[in-house]
């Protein structure tokens, strides 16, 4: 392999590492003290797609990040399995059918922190470095965000 090829590979590897470093873990959160400590990805998907779910007997009220943010994009792809365009079409079609509206989108991470902390039934998600003492991380499919095999990331 020539020096030039090695150099190109190093540059590409550097870009890949940098992109991975930019992605942060996205932690599903409820209010501190909530009985909800773990949800399945399926429950999370249904909760954020208009169904009522009550893990641990608590009916959850979902709050989203703003559309087109790194948090929202990562969450929608990982949990709903949809791109931003698909999510947009999904909710418009539900409106036309007369079905329940999209979860409320909050304008900033600070809003998610405060709303989830204030309301015992609220569930949202924040980047790992934005966790506060008032928020309780929730395991997803039994995996904590501190585990190496945690699979929710910002986009």
């Amino acid at each position: 392999m020539s020096y030039r090829s090695v150099a190109i590979l190093c540059v590409l590897a550097g870009f890949a590492q940098s992109a991975a470093a930019d992605r942060q873990k996205l932690v599903v959160v409820v209010a501190r003290g909530s009985a909800v400590t773990s949800v399945s990805r399926s429950e999370l998907k249904h909760c954020f797609m208009g169904d009522t779910i009550s893990p641990a007997g608590v009916p959850l009220v979902p709050f989203n990040a703003e559309p087109r943010t790194a948090q929202r994009g990562g969450f929608d792809r990982a949990v709903l399995g949809m791109s931003p365009d698909e999510v947009g079409r999904f909710w418009v079609d539900r409106k036309v059918r007369g079905q329940s509206a999209a979860p409320r989108s909050l304008p900033s991470i600070a809003h998610v922190q405060k709303v989830v902390a204030k309301f015992p039934n609220a569930i949202g998600y924040v980047p790992a470095d934005q966790l506060t003492a008032e928020l309780q991380p929730v395991k997803v499919d039994g995996v904590a965000y501190t585990d190496s095999n945690y699979a929710l990331f910002t986009e």
Binding site: S40, S42, E43, H46, D51, T52, I53, S54, P59, V61, F63, S83, D85, G88, R89, W91, V92, D93, K95, V96, R97, G98, A101, R104, L106, P107, S108, I109, A110, H111, Q113, K114, V115, A117, K118, F119, N121, A122, V126, A128, D129, Q130, L131, T132, A133, E134, A144, T146, D147, S148
Partner: protein
């Protein structure tokens, strides 16, 4: 294996400071109450169509035609009344009766002179209440809905509005209403999650089908309906549904005359599979009617016969992520009405494109080759139909 998050304490302090600045009241959230949205939401949709049709031989009263038509303007009003009570109303503002075709072939014109505008001519249209109901969540598995609602059957009837529907118009089996499109009464509905599966149900008690079903039940006999549905994460998402309906239709007759009446049963099955951009969906429906003695109408000079109508369609399409999210699609439909009553057997191949340049705007173009058979007047006839539509949600 646990992973250390070294900056978390510092981040928590900074984040807490940010969160304390947030004004929940400005978001319409009251920290002392449940976080439900109690705003009145007003939104809707409408459409513009262009259609060109050509008949294989001349049809009296239905010449080849082409032109634009403006669709109905549907406005929704929805509101969460409390955490458990909701209300939804959908009102359709219509251009008809102006331009409506009458049974004798004439056209209704509603032009009048407007005395508030120097008696200049204006045409007026109508209003149709598509649905208006309140619903109450007993728990997460049971909701009770009361009012006028869309009959919970199949895919097309609940997709309902043109922006959510792939093709520009409905298949015969849906348009001919083998199930009533709307009903007035009470609906019990709910769902439960079983692992990754979602099981749902609907049960209805209503006035059933009649020309005046929103305001009364001419025969006083309630109609019953039901639906069960399953959503499974099989190679994407598979949805299966079975629906049924049992009721008596009673028309409205002139004073002294006997109204048409029949007992009817409808059964339907539907399936929808979404895998990435791929969509496959089908519906098959049967509707049978039995006339009590003395209540058969005359159809084309003959006494109407008992009979069963069957029909269905299958649709396939693939949504790409380019060219305005284009979805090429094809659907085939086959409709076998009760031919004793002068209804036509219809088969159609439909192929077209559905574009979704934004969430709220849909563009459609479709070519249809329709074959009608056993028409009591026309025999067999072929219709070539080209339709385009722009529909938008606001």
């Amino acid at each position: 294996m646990a992973m250390a998050v070294p900056s978390i304490a510092r981040a928590q302090a900074a984040a807490s400071a940010g969160a304390s600045d947030v004004d929940l009241a400005a978001l319409g959230l009251n920290p002392t109450a449940a976080p439900f949205d109690d705003k009145l939401n007003i939104y809707g949709f409408t459409e513009l169509d262009y259609a060109a049709k050509h008949f294989s031989h001349p049809v009296p009263g239905a010449p080849d035609a082409k032109g634009f038509s403006a669709g109905d303007l549907n406005v929704y009003l929805s509101k969460n009344l409390t955490e458990k009570w909701r209300s939804l109303a959908e009102v359709s503002f219509l251009y008809i009766p102006n331009g409506g075709q009458n049974a004798d072939g004439s056209t209704t014109i509603t032009t009048v002179n407007d005395p508030t505008n120097f008696s200049r001519p204006i045409t007026w249209g109508g209003v149709s209440i598509e649905r208006a109901y309140a619903e109450y969540d007993v728990d997460e598995h049971l909701t009770i809905r009361a009012g006028r609602f869309l009959t919970p059957y199949g895919i097309w009837n609940t997709d309902h509005g043109s922006p959510a529907i792939i093709a520009p118009f409905r298949p015969y089996v849906i348009g001919d209403a083998y199930f009533p499109e709307h009903q007035t009464g009470v609906e019990f509905l709910g769902k439960t999650l079983v692992g990754e599966y979602r099981v749902g149900y609907h049960a209805t008690i209503t006035n059933g089908r009649s020309p005046v079903e929103a305001t009364g039940d001419p025969d006083g006999k309630p109609a019953f309906g039901g639906r069960i549905e399953l959503e499974a994460p099989w190679a994407g998402t598979l949805r299966l549904g079975l629906s049924g309906y049992l009721g008596r239709y009673t028309g409205v007759a002139a004073v002294g005359a006997t109204a048409e009446s029949y007992d009817e049963r409808s059964y339907g099955g539907d399936a929808q599979w979404d895998h990435g951009g791929l969509r496959l969906q089908l519906e098959v429906i049967a509707n049978s009617r039995v006339y009590p003695a003395g209540q058969r109408p005359l159809v084309f000079g003959r006494t109407a016969a008992d009979g069963t109508r069957t029909g269905g369609y299958i649709l396939g399409g693939y949504r790409f992520t380019y060219l305005w999210n284009v979805m090429p699609f094809y659907f085939y439909e086959d409709n076998h009405p009760s031919t004793q009553n002068g209804e036509q057997t219809a088969r159609a191949h439909n192929m077209g494109f559905n574009f979704r340049p934004t969430d709220s705007v849909v563009l459609k173009a479709m070519f249809s080759a329709v074959s009608l058979h056993e028409d009591p007047f026309l025999g067999s006839i072929h219709i070539d139909l080209f339709t385009t539509q722009v529909a938008w949600v606001f």
